[in-house]
Symmetry: C2
Amino acid sequence: MRVLGVDPGLTRCGVAVVEGSRSPMLLHVSVVRTDADLDTPRRLVTIEAELDALMERWLPDVVAVERVFAQNNLNTVIGTAQAAGTAMMVGARRGIPVAEHTPSEIKAAITGSGRADKAQITTMVTRILSLDAPPRPADAADAAALAICHLWRGATKNRITEAVAARGRQRPDLEARAQEIAERQRRAVSQARAKATASTNARTGIRKPASRGRTTT
Amino acid sequence: MRVLGVDPGLTRCGVAVVEGSRSPMLLHVSVVRTDADLDTPRRLVTIEAELDALMERWLPDVVAVERVFAQNNLNTVIGTAQAAGTAMMVGARRGIPVAEHTPSEIKAAITGSGRADKAQITTMVTRILSLDAPPRPADAADAAALAICHLWRGATKNRITEAVAARGRQRPDLEARAQEIAERQRRAVSQARAKATASTNARTGIRKPASRGRTTT
């Protein structure tokens, strides 16, 4: 199973693609940045376009997004929720099941403790993914932790996600419109992709090409 | 000037299209509903598709969205913020300036008091728009109030919005990608439009066809 994890934020969205189960492999890690000088609507358009290009490139089986709580930092929670919503919408529009995990679920899955600190998470992520050094950029480590969390919490929650997605698919009207839009997006992205791929490769350490011959896990 | 107002919500998004200035005219009012049985990602996809179809049909000069505050109802604020974010993103993707107004700005613009109740708002909206009866569905009256608020608060705030949008347009990379996606969206929607138009006409009172020979205000 291939999971694309998104640690949402209006200024920075950490993104990681992880594949496997017991010995997961990091395929991609990057940060989608938006310009603080832009208004929120345009920043969301940037996030939409970049996440869509990443999903087009990596074809994840599941998109995992960190759940945003209303009690989070009041100054940023609305923007963070909107970035998370954009990530979820982009995934669902492509027909990919979308799962949310809470920060404490992620911490517990990775370190065994729901109260682990950032350094512990990064150390464990580096070890789990058999990396020589912590993932860069540093703030994408949380996205990698999220993707691993999804792989490991797996079974039950994935079945629920799939059941919900299947239920959605029983609404042919919505499904048809979503597919139309997704199809247009795919074509839109194919042009932008070459550029995105080049710039992404330049700023991240890729361990494996994007070949989509489903790795057996 | 033609304004499309969106009163955001995950379950119901009120939408109104208002044109003019001193004697604004209601061109369209409806509610975009999503099925509570669907997961949030699929609900956001529905909101995206329906709002995009409405913008394609009504070609507003501005999209006005009610601002969501972190202090709002904790049970629904995240979903409401995500619906608002989707509305803003759909507008920005089409290159339409997007403005946010707070509930008290709306109340003050419509009734003269930032603390007016729902009944007062509805009464004033009905009067301002020279309607024989309050707009139906009732929960779209807030969207009409929002659109009127934008027209009336106008000048200063609109200039700011346009300046911000122009600044975004100075970033040709983002602009190019946004335009690509918007172009694909336009084509996607043209197919879905005939159906959406038919169903929208069925459930709303249209006062004027969608002719886009810019009304002089």
